[in-house]
Symmetry: C2
Subunit: 141 residues, 2 copies
């Protein structure tokens, strides 16, 4: 196996609402919902950094395709981190998420590793961390 993740798929309850959150609320770019011509095919892709996309797909479709039972999210089962270049940017992204309808789980604050971070949940309870970590500053594109 190569060290590569191509796609992160988040199961959602309401695809159109989830697209509005990520596209209109967080400002991520998408061509919108595609694949409607297939049963269980409707999905929205968002381009992230090169080689990585985020996909929103109804939970029912992911359950159908994988064969797993339909399940509610385990809110503390995983997290996606969005590292930024400054504390100020952490505050700005947390505010943007809140205004977009996210649930602020933990307001931005100092972290045990000497950084500054907060957590929010998207409308489907998927957990995001917004972090400034002096040891993990992202390269700006």
């Amino acid at each position: 196996m190569k060290p590569r993740i191509t796609l992160i798929t988040l199961g959602v309850d309401d695809l159109e609402a989830a697209v509005r959150f990520y596209r209109d609320g967080l400002g991520l770019k998408t061509a919108g919902i595609v694949g409607k011509e297939f049963e269980y095919g409707a999905v929205a892709f968002f381009d992230l950094q090169a080689g990585l996309k985020l996909a929103l797909w109804p939970r029912a479709s992911l359950a159908h395709d994988s064969g797993l039972p339909l399940s509610r999210p385990g809110p503390s089962g995983f997290a996606l981190a969005h590292n930024v270049a400054s504390r100020t940017e952490v505050d700005a992204v947390m505010k943007q998420a809140q205004q977009a309808g996210a649930t602020v789980v933990k307001p931005a604050q100092e972290t045990f590793y000497g950084g500054y971070a907060g957590y929010f949940q998207d409308p489907d309870q998927h957990l995001w961390e917004v972090a400034w970590n002096p040891q993990m500053i992202p390269a700006e594109e």
Copy 2:
């Protein structure tokens, strides 16, 4: 918010077992468990493509840090996709995962979008898809 995910954190029950699965079983590279000097700090990072890391962190630590209740995973709540360059490579990675102790959820087969893919769960029930998608062939490093 910039279109960027820096870190994908998977909550695990047994950190050492999870490291063995990803490092020894799947062959991903890690410096091993670090951060043991902090309460709730023990974590293992795996480098993926540039700008992206996978982190294994005990569920209890993720729950503690985020303030969310400790929860079991929702098995069909999200998926990580590992896209590869050929059908043969799908078969090889699915076999590697199975030998590493993964649960094969759906053996590799033709997909509705004209690709070839299978699903497995890691020891903590996190869902992975191994896919050859003619419209999403990864650039080889």
